[in-house]
Symmetry: C2
Subunit: 725 residues, 2 copies
């Protein structure tokens, strides 16, 4: 995978004072630290090789941390005083695609603006977010929640968060959010300047920026030049503004210097970015559920759906095309789940977490006044277990809506009609006014993704699995529609799909435009099915929210146990990733992925030629091949390898969302951009295994060489104060 | 591939006195040396680390070389005074299969004879060949040939060789052959004792002996325990005899001691065995033809046949099964050709050979009396070029017989009937009395490999390609049968396949049993086609034999140039492999197969567990998994890695036929058995590239551990004088 965040979490930021003390991390180089924690681990940072002042890293609204920005899903950084931003090629892909024409295909050819005037808009939706404030507001968020339980606790936190965000966003040009740290223990208000005029400055051809594509995805050795440059513009008043020819480059509060020194195995490295989600501090019970049940189930059900679709489209070329995207997505999910499962087993994660938790709880139990907290932990475990007891059922019921096109459309039309009856702020997430464009796009594309025979086969398989569940997990509404056996399900599916007009795009879009009452009263067979199933969906959602609220109340005692235990053992604790700015540090590292195989930490242009076949994704452009053959690497050559490096590996702690993160050396200078992890590390969202966790970066020297010798951009090199060659 | 020889060459042994001098090999560790050459390179052997006396290796009929034996296609060695032989599991597969029953599947379960009485026959065809004489008879072989040219030269050499073999084989119990060294420069008479009562003593389960099978084939890291034990028996009189319960173990002239010392990167290693065929001393022109034409053509035509068959069997499950073996063979051939092509390009073989040859010829031209020799070289080049000019045509015409079942059968029936009219000794190779059993088996199995529609599609594709050749390459007989365009070919194929009864096994076997005259007069449509094409086949064969004879005369001057040039540069020259005993030396070596990847030279049991899936070919047997988990490795553990090793890699010079070759340490003790090469070395039959040529061996310590702890055979350990654990 590329490390672009694909999940966005509603809640989200803070530090446990107790944990931000001194001592050593649990595992060497593990940790996604909040900048405010760094002064607390100054000794380790220094020991690891950091040559700057850890205190200077503590405030993420001041240099150098303020040079690190979010693109929403990706990370980027300022590299000049004139708003020049560097990120991954794959993070700028939307902008590159948007500006491509049949006459000038920027994806294939790359883009190189010789002057500022030639820089092109990255599109109206492109954003650069610069964090301007980060304040702990735990008391404000929890004031109303305290004393409450369950859904009421959840609603109180939700209402206080929405109010804080609304108040913060009164300041024009800003976007605000509330970040939840340590699972409800602490809450932070994050305020970000929202730059809206973003322009594409430079991108290499895709055959460089995404060399190897899906084949090399997750793999090492890697040879991708995954970088691109943006520039952020603002109005003449210096404030965020939509695209205008009159706008001027934004002058950032800080920018990073690009290193001109070599990189070698064992060198100190650090990385700042916006990692999306990790599960490192989940309970031992949740680790066990994940490894023993959730992931094997996912492998099983995704595998069964792949097989079902394959069988249903066999010999039908048209249906094969219609379902190609859904198949690819299921196969990718299957591969990911299997990789995560293999990794967690290889790391013995279940037993390790169980042993660690047992030791923590034993310590916690000896602390004064821990009795109530331990009761809360027990209650949290019971809730998690209860939720897990019906997880197979809940997954199957969810897949009936997410893996079907027509039934899914019927459900979304019904739900939207229902939600439209409420004030926008009270509508369910995903059904607010701002979501309607996305819903419409989804309803339109059904035409390119639907075949009645295949959809019935998918439903038949999901219903077959549903019927095999214990009797007490049955959903009355589902049984009423589809009956209790295979014959009844087949008959119902035949009747329902014969009686629906939702296969017609005009009908679907007509229902989208219709009055809510008319939608709810539709006599279309599938619309009626969706209406009949709706109470079950709402009932499940209500149970989920009750549990989520209760866990928001019950998890903090568990986390306090960890914080205290860690502090007592001289080990600081970092919060799980939640899309807020984090820093990790470690070193340039080789990897022994399996018996007999050793991966060196630096790749070179020789590997580009070795992989080159002339066919995508291994079609190195001629100018690149000629430059490699010429061997003129100037100041960017590696002094030991005597050639041009391309990518390198570190043991830095990353996850999805870290795409584009600047990788810094001991002096805080940019030496690379993070763009992927290795396949062996796919389970790192749950457990950091130092034997296998690596992050993959494009070497800043490769970027400099491409700008100097292959697709020259002397203006950019000057702007970044870099040598011309 | 496993290094079992698949090609057997008719001619085949000698040393150029001039080249067996002193100096250094052309490339470090390159060379398949005749034992008689080893005293001449004693200095290099010593420098490389050999601790014995190189002179002791010179005579392959005396210890220790006489411990190394041929199984016919594989190499093996004696490891006890009681005729115990060790070779590869894959070399003993026939014997293992033969003794398997539904009740006791030795392939799956392995075999372990607790006593001599439990040893089972490896079958009537199993052989162990012990070389007892090796004499230079160049003058005798060439006496009648001198002064002749072309076919007459070939026939004189052939007749003298056959006479020498017949005379030699007067000594009962022996098999003799004439080996051709340096392409006709020298001839040796090889006399071998032919042991006929061979018994299976020990074999691990296939899931150990062939762990990884096709998936790991050619690959590193490797984790296969590819070994098995035989014992050779003789009559009570000590002479070769067919199986009899009364027979006694053969007492070999020598046996190898198995080392109990560790193996580590950089250690000296040497290997003795019977490598099949190499092309290292072919002319630069032949290198160019191979890379620029032969291999690309083979990739093209094999690819086209794969596609043709795929299309023809699409949607026909029965036809898919019938053609599975032929498809697998074509795909394997395609993969091999592509691998060889990639390797020769990576090694820049064409330009290197051209530069080396140009330097040699320039030197040669300055020698007294070289004029005639250089004229012969030119003549040889012209012959090679002439032969190559029609190679596409000849290949297509050959494929019409080898890639078809019914037309191929018709041709073989016609040819056999024709050859049966001659005395057996004068029949064409492949059609002598001893070949008839194989021909009958081939005719029987047509039933399981034939579909008329597919065969017509294959013929149509081959004819289409044939018609695209230049007009002067057309074969009149082929045009007469299949016409000059696609329509005519289709009509002819439809008519011919409608008019043949050869699809009926009884008809084919009836023709096999019939009198030659009746076969030649058959009115079956395909038999008539075969008869019409026969003159073209015979004409082509005659041209080939003329050229082969002429090249047998013309290549020696070219080789004399190389011998002189090499000697003048202090470099000894070894002859190309020809299934005679050779020795290579080098060291235990890691490999950097591509940018960013380093392969360590030793694998361990950890890799077996990493690969284990429970499904073949990665289904490590439970006793093995339990023993690995237990970690009780005793004296066989590696002192540095602190675990049990499995396989190791050296840079030894090997090719097909070297399977089972003993790998020896500096003291001449057995440290492993060769069983494969790495994928990067598939082009080594033409050029040894020290960056990529590696040989893969099973570690004798793994063998010892399996015998001590996993499938115990304490009797064998005692017999080999090895520790019990």
């Amino acid at each position: 995978m590329t490390e672009q965040k694909t999940l966005s979490k509603a809640l989200g930021v803070a530090v446990l004072a107790a944990a931000a003390g001194s001592g050593f991390p649990a595992q060497a180089d593990e940790g996604m630290w909040m900048p405010s924690q760094l002064p607390g681990i100054a000794a380790q940072l220094k020991q690891a090789g950091f040559q700057g002042d850890p205190a200077s890293l503590a405030d993420l609204t001041r240099p150098p941390m303020s040079a690190v920005v979010s693109l929403g899903g990706c990370t980027a950084s300022f590299v000049s005083p004139q708003g020049l931003v560097v990120t991954n090629h794959h993070c700028a892909m939307g902008a590159i695609q948007l500006n491509s024409t049949p006459q000038d295909n920027l994806i294939a050819n790359g883009f190189n603006a010789a002057t500022r005037a030639q820089e092109v808009s990255a599109g109206p939706a492109a954003r650069v977010y610069v964090t301007t404030a980060f304040d702990r507001i735990t008391d404000r968020i929890l004031a109303d929640a305290r004393g409450k339980t369950g859904r009421a606790y959840y609603d109180a936190v939700d209402a206080a968060s929405k109010a804080a965000v609304a108040e913060c966003e009164q300041d024009a040009g800003h976007r605000c959010s509330v970040a939840n740290m340590y699972y409800g223990t602490d809450f932070y208000l994050v305020k970000q300047l929202e730059l809206q005029d973003i322009r594409l400055v430079y991108a290499p051809p895709e055959a460089i920026g995404n060399y190897g594509d899906e084949i090399d995805n997750f793999m090492w050795p890697r040879h991708s030049g995954d970088f691109a440059f943006y520039r952020a513009y603002v109005g003449k008043d210096g404030k965020p503004a939509a695209f205008s020819a009159d706008n001027v480059p934004y002058q950032p509060p800080a920018y990073l210097a690009v290193s001109t020194d070599p990189v070698a195995e064992g060198d100190f490295a650090m990385l700042a970015g916006y990692p999306g989600t990790t599960y490192r501090h989940r309970m031992a019970l949740e680790f066990a559920e994940q490894v023993q049940d959730t992931l094997p189930s996912r492998v099983d059900i995704y595998g069964a759906l792949v097989e079902t679709i394959e069988k249903a489209v066999d010999g039908d070329a048209e249906a094969q095309v219609l379902y190609a995207a859904q198949m690819a997505s299921l196969e990718n999910g299957l591969k990911r789940a299997q990789g995560e499962l293999d990794g967690l087993r290889r790391s013995d994660a279940v037993d390790k977490r169980a042993a660690d938790e047992a030791a923590m709880l034993a310590w916690f139990g000896r602390q004064p006044g821990a009795k109530a907290a331990l009761a809360d932990v027990k209650a949290a475990q019971a809730l998690v277990a209860a939720s897990h007891a019906t997880s197979d059922r809940d997954t199957l019921f969810g897949l009936m809506r997410s893996q079907t096109q027509l039934l899914g459309s019927a459900y979304r039309l019904q739900r939207l009609a229902m939600e439209r009856g409420k004030p926008d702020a009270q509508r369910e997430n995903g059904y607010q006014q701002r979501d309607e464009v996305r819903i419409e796009a989804g309803l339109k594309q059904v035409q390119r993704r639907y075949d009645a025979g295949v959809e019935k086969a998918i439903m038949a398989e999901l219903l077959r699995r549903y019927r095999a569940l214990p009797a007490d997990q049955r959903i009355a509404e589902l049984d009423a529609v589809f009956g209790n056996d295979a014959a009844a399900a087949t008959a119902a599916l035949d009747r329902i799909y014969a009686g629906t007009k939702l296969g017609d795009a005009d009908v679907r879009l007509g229902l989208l435009a219709a009055e809510p009452a008319a939608v709810l009263a539709s006599d279309d067979a599938l619309m009626q099915v969706a209406a009949k199933l709706m109470p079950a969906v709402l009932r499940e959602e209500e149970v989920d929210k009750q549990r989520a609220g209760e866990l928001l109340r019950l998890r903090p005692p568990y986390m306090r146990g960890w914080a205290g235990y860690s502090a007592a053992n001289g080990k600081p604790l970092y919060p799980d990733a939640n899309s807020t700015l984090r820093v990790s540090y470690g070193k340039v590292s080789s990897l022994d992925p399996r018996d007999g195989v050793h991966y060196t930490p630096l790749t070179t242009v020789a590997g580009i030629m070795q992989k080159h076949t002339g066919q995508a994704p291994f079609d190195a452009p001629q100018p690149l091949r000629e430059a490699i053959a010429k061997g003129d690497f100037g100041s960017t050559a590696d002094p030991v390898l005597k050639t041009q490096t391309v990518d390198f590996m570190t043991n830095l702690d990353t996850t999805g969302g870290n795409s584009g993160s600047p990788v810094l050396d001991a002096k805080g200078r940019l030496i690379g951009l993070n763009f992927d992890s290795n396949w062996e590390a796919v389970s790192a969202s749950w457990m950091y295994d130092p034997r296998y966790k690596r992050a993959i970066h494009v070497d800043a020297r490769y970027l400099r060489w491409l700008l100097a010798k292959v697709y020259p951009a002397p203006n950019l090199l000057r702007e970044m104060n870099l040598p011309a060659e």
